[in-house]
C-alpha cells in the first residue's frame, strides 16, 4: 500500500517537473529578439555627435518602436538608429510584427501602446488618433516636416488640425515594369502619354503577345493591386482635385468618375487580348499572388506589369534591375505630357508618449540626417524627404523613385484606399475589386463599395 502511494506521488512530482520544464523550454525558444547591435559601425563613424547635443542628456533612457517592418528590412532601420543611440545614450527597442496593423489598435485601446509606431496608412493613423492615445508631434518635428516635405505629406498626418508625425519611407506606385532588353530588341518606346501606353499594348498584341501580367492574390488583402490601378486612372483621367474629393467621399464612389476610371482599368485587366501574360486568362489575376505576378517578364511571357517600386525585391537576385538590365520600370504616363500625377504610399512615425527621449528620437527621424543614413543602409527604400541625396541610394529603381518624388512637376497623391475608412479601404474595395476581376460588372462593383461606406 505504502509503496503504491509513494510511486504515485513520485509520478506526480515527475509530471509536474516535466510540465514546468516544458514551459521553460518553450519560453526559451519563443520570442528570440536577437540583439544585433554589434555590427554596423560604418554608419556611426561618419556622424558628428555635435548635432545631437541639443537633445540634452538622455543617457540610460529607452524608447520602444513598434512596426510592421520585419526581417530583412528591419536591419537597415536598426542600423540607422545607431548614431542616435551612440551619441545620446538612448536605447531603442525595435519590435517588428507582421500583424502590426491589427495589433497596434488593440495595444492602443488596451492602454499598452509603444512609445513610437511606424504607421503605414493615414487611415490607420486617424484610427489611432481616435483612440486618444496618440500624442501630437513636437514643434521641432513640425518645423522639419515643413522644411523637408511637400505640404501634402504633412496633411496626411494631420487630424483635426493637429499634426501627429513625420513621414518615414515612401514608395512610388505609378510604375510599369518592363524588360529594357525586349524594348530594345523590338524597338518599343517608353510611352509618355496614356494613349501611347494603349498603342504600345496594341503593338505588342499585334506582335503575338499577351502584354500585361497581373496578380492580386494576397491572403485576406486579396484585391489591393486593383485599387492601385484604379487610383492611378482616377488621378490621370480626372486630376488631383477630383481624386481628393473621391478619396474623402465628397463625390460618391458609384459616380460617373469612378465608373469611368474602373472601366478604364477594365480596358486593360479585363481584356482577354491584354492579359494575363504567362499566367492564364483574366480570372487567373485573382489567384496569382502579387509577388509572382511580374515574374513572367523575366521569362519572356509578359512585357508590362503595373506595380510599386518595392516590387524590385521580388525578382531573383541574379536578375539585373537597371535601366540597361533585365527588368526596370518606367513612370506610368499621365493623360498628356504636361501632367505628372504620381500615386504613392509611405509610413509615418506616430508617438504615444511625450517623454524628452521620445521627442528627441522623433525629431531625429524627421531630419535629412536620418533620411540619408537610412538611405545608405538600405536596399529598396526611398523617402520623400527633399534633403535626401540620390547618390546615397544604392540601386537604380530607388534612384528612379527618388527622382520622380523630387521632380517639381510631380503632383503626388497618397494611396487612396489607405486613406479611406477601413470598412472600404481594407475590406469592401478589395473584396469588390476581386469580384469584379472574376466577372462582376463595373456598376454592381462601384454600387457595392458605395454601399459599404460607413455613415458619418
Amino acid at each position: 500500500m505504502f509503496g503504491h502511494s509513494r510511486s504515485q506521488r513520485l509520478r506526480g512530482a515527475l509530471a509536474g517537473t516535466l510540465g514546468v520544464g516544458l514551459v521553460f523550454g518553450i519560453a526559451a525558444c519563443g520570442g528570440g529578439s536577437d540583439d544585433s547591435n554589434d555590427d554596423s559601425k560604418t554608419a556611426t563613424q561618419s556622424i558628428d555627435c555635435a548635432q545631437f547635443s541639443s537633445y540634452g542628456d538622455l543617457k540610460g533612457k529607452t524608447v520602444s518602436v513598434y512596426t510592421g517592418i520585419v526581417t530583412p528590412e528591419d536591419k537597415a532601420y536598426k542600423d540607422s538608429y545607431k548614431p542616435f543611440e551612440d551619441c545620446t545614450g538612448v536605447k531603442i527597442n525595435y519590435e517588428g510584427d507582421k500583424s502590426f496593423e491589427t495589433q497596434i489598435l488593440v495595444r492602443a485601446k488596451a492602454g499598452n501602446p509603444p512609445d513610437l509606431a511606424i504607421v503605414p496608412q493615414p487611415g490607420l493613423l486617424k484610427q489611432l488618433v481616435a483612440t486618444g492615445k496618440a500624442v501630437e508631434a513636437p514643434a521641432e518635428v513640425a518645423a522639419n516636416v515643413d522644411k523637408f516635405w511637400g505640404k501634402d505629406w504633412k496633411g496626411y498626418a494631420t487630424v483635426n488640425g493637429k499634426f501627429y508625425g513625420a513621414p518615414s519611407g515612401a514608395s512610388v506606385k505609378s510604375l510599369v515594369w518592363y524588360s529594357p532588353a525586349e524594348f530594345k530588341e523590338k524597338g518599343y518606346q517608353v510611352p509618355t502619354t496614356l494613349d501611347q501606353l494603349k498603342e504600345l499594348t496594341d503593338k505588342m498584341v499585334a506582335d503575338g503577345k499577351k502584354p500585361w501580367c497581373a496578380g492580386i492574390s494576397s491572403g485576406e488583402a486579396t484585391g489591393w493591386p486593383i485599387t492601385d490601378w484604379m487610383e492611378d486612372f482616377m488621378l490621370r483621367l480626372y486630376g488631383p482635385e477630383t481624386y481628393d474629393k473621391w478619396v474623402n467621399h465628397e463625390i460618391p464612389f458609384n459616380g460617373p468618375e469612378s465608373t469611368a476610371a474602373l472601366d478604364a482599368v477594365g480596358g486593360y485587366l479585363k481584356n482577354d487580348k491584354y492579359v494575363n501574360g504567362g499566367l492564364g486568362d483574366v480570372k487567373s489575376i485573382a489567384t496569382t499572388t502579387f509577388q509572382d505576378a511580374g515574374l513572367p517578364i523575366t521569362e519572356g511571357t509578359c512585357s508590362l506589369h503595373h506595380q510599386a517600386s518595392f516590387y524590385a525585391a521580388n525578382f531573383d537576385p541574379s536578375t539585373k534591375v537597371a535601366e540597361d538590365g533585365d527588368v526596370f520600370a518606367f513612370y506610368m504616363p499621365g493623360k498628356d505630357t504636361s501632367s505628372k500625377p504620381v500615386l504613392g504610399g509611405g509610413e509615418f512615425n506616430v508617438a504615444f508618449a511625450d517623454r524628452p527621449e521620445v521627442k528627441a528620437f522623433q525629431t531625429y527621424l524627421s531630419t535629412d540626417t536620418w533620411a540619408n543614413i537610412k538611405a545608405k543602409a538600405s536596399q529598396g527604400w526611398v523617402s520623400a524627404n527633399k534633403g535626401i541625396d540620390p547618390n546615397n541610394l544604392s540601386n537604380p529603381i530607388d534612384r528612379l523613385a527618388a527622382t520622380i518624388l523630387k521632380d517639381p512637376n510631380t503632383v503626388f497623391r497618397f494611396d487612396g484606399s489607405d486613406q479611406m475608412p477601413a470598412a472600404v479601404g481594407s475590406n469592401a474595395f478589395w473584396k469588390q475589386a476581386t469580384s469584379w476581376v472574376t466577372g462582376q460588372d463595373t456598376k454592381t462593383t462601384v454600387d457595392n463599395i458605395e454601399k459599404a461606406w460607413p455613415a458619418k
Partner: protein
C-alpha cells in the same frame, strides 16, 4: 509598463509570474484550512473554487457580456443603434452569403465526416492490418488546420493551360491526365466552399472513425451472436444491432464536429482569406472587428455564433452524460 526584450529578462519575468501565481493560490488554499465549525466543508469548497470562478469571470463572463453589449453599438462603438447590426447580418448581401456558407459547412461537414468515419470503422473492423488502416485515416488529425489548409491549397493549385507550363496542383494534374483543362478551383462560388469543406472532412473523419470504432468494439458479443442465430444479414446487422448500440457515440461525434465546424476560421482564412464568397461567420467576425474596424457588426457576429453553438453544446453534453450513465 514595458516588456523586457531579452530572453533572460523574459524568463525572469515568467518565473516571477509563476511564483506569484503559486503564492496567491497557496495563500488561498492555506487560508481555507482555517475554516472550522459546522459550515467548514462548504467554506473550504468555496475557497478552493474561488480562483477558478474569478478567472472565469474575468476571462469568460466579462468579455462575453461586453461583446453582447457592444453588438448593439455602431462601428466606432460610440452610438447605440439597437438591433441594426443584427438586421445587417440578415439583410446585407455579403452577410447573407456568409450565413449561406455557414449553413453549407454545418450541414455537410458533420454528416459526411461521421459517415465516412463510420463506414471506414465498419470496413476495417477485425480486418487484417486494422491498426495500420486506422492510422492512415487518423494521421490528418495530427496536422494543424493551417498546415492542412496549406497542403490542400497545393492540391487545388492552378497553373495556366499553356504549352510549357506544368501543373503543380494534384487535382488539376489528374484533370489534365484525364484530358480536361485545368480549373481555378477556389474562385467559383459556391463550389469553392465545398472544396474547403473537404479539408475539414479530411481532418475530422479520423476522429469520427476512432470514436465509432471503439464504440463498435464495445458492443457485447452475445448480442451479435444472438442476431446471427436469428439469421440477420450484414445490412440488418448494421441497421438493427450496430447502429442502435452506438447511437450515443454517433450523436457525440456529430455534435462535436458540428461545434468545431461552426467555429471554423483557420481553413477559410488560410485558403481564401474569405474571398470569392467563401467567408463564414467566424472569419467574417474577425474581418469586421479587426480589419474593417466595425466593432459593432463584429460583436454581433460573435454573439450570433455563440447563440448557434449553445444548443449543440447543450445537446452534446446531455448525450455524453447519457452515454456515461449507460
Amino acid at each position: 509598463m514595458s516588456t523586457p526584450d531579452t530572453n533572460v529578462g523574459k524568463i525572469v519575468l515568467m518565473v516571477a509570474a509563476i511564483l506569484l501565481f503559486a503564492a496567491v493560490v497557496g495563500a488561498i488554499l492555506f487560508a481555507a484550512t482555517f475554516f472550522r465549525g459546522r459550515r467548514a466543508d462548504r467554506l473550504t469548497a468555496y475557497a478552493y473554487l474561488a480562483p477558478t470562478l474569478i478567472m472565469l469571470l474575468v476571462g469568460l463572463v466579462y468579455p462575453g457580456v461586453r461583446t453582447i453589449y457592444e453588438s448593439f453599438f455602431n462601428a466606432a462603438g460610440n452610438a447605440f443603434i439597437g438591433l441594426d447590426n443584427y438586421k445587417t447580418i440578415f439583410t446585407d448581401g455579403d452577410q447573407l452569403t456568409v450565413l449561406r456558407n455557414t449553413v453549407f459547412w454545418v450541414v455537410v461537414t458533420p454528416f459526411v465526416a461521421t459517415g465516412v468515419g463510420l463506414l471506414y470503422a465498419i470496413l476495417v473492423d477485425k480486418a487484417r492490418l486494422e491498426s495500420f488502416a486506422k492510422a492512415l485515416i487518423f494521421l490528418p488529425m495530427a496536422i494543424s488546420f493551417v498546415g492542412a489548409s496549406i497542403i490542400w491549397k497545393f492540391v487545388y493549385e492552378y497553373r495556366p493551360d499553356q504549352a510549357n507550363v506544368k501543373q503543380i496542383g494534384l487535382l488539376n494534374q489528374v484533370l489534365v491526365w484525364l484530358g480536361g483543362t485545368p480549373q481555378q478551383w477556389l474562385v467559383t462560388s459556391p463550389l469553392n466552399t465545398f472544396l474547403l469543406i473537404v479539408v475539414m472532412i479530411w481532418i475530422q473523419a479520423g476522429f469520427a472513425m476512432t470514436v465509432l470504432s471503439a464504440a463498435i468494439k464495445a458492443i457485447p458479443e452475445d448480442i451479435i451472436e444472438a442476431a446471427r442465430l436469428d439469421g440477420v444479414g450484414p445490412w440488418g446487422m448494421f441497421r438493427f444491432v450496430t447502429l442502435p448500440a452506438i447511437r450515443p457515440a454517433v450523436v457525440v461525434v456529430l455534435t462535436t464536429i458540428g461545434i468545431g465546424t461552426l467555429k471554423v476560421f483557420d481553413i477559410v482564412r488560410t485558403m481564401t482569406g474569405g474571398q470569392f464568397d467563401t467567408s463564414v461567420i467566424a472569419n467574417e467576425f474577425y474581418s469586421q472587428s479587426f480589419r474593417s474596424d466595425n466593432q459593432g457588426l463584429g460583436s454581433a457576429l460573435a454573439v450570433l455564433l455563440f447563440l448557434l453553438v449553445i444548443p449543440i453544446v447543450v445537446y452534446n453534453i446531455r448525450q455524453i452524460r447519457r452515454s456515461e450513465a449507460l
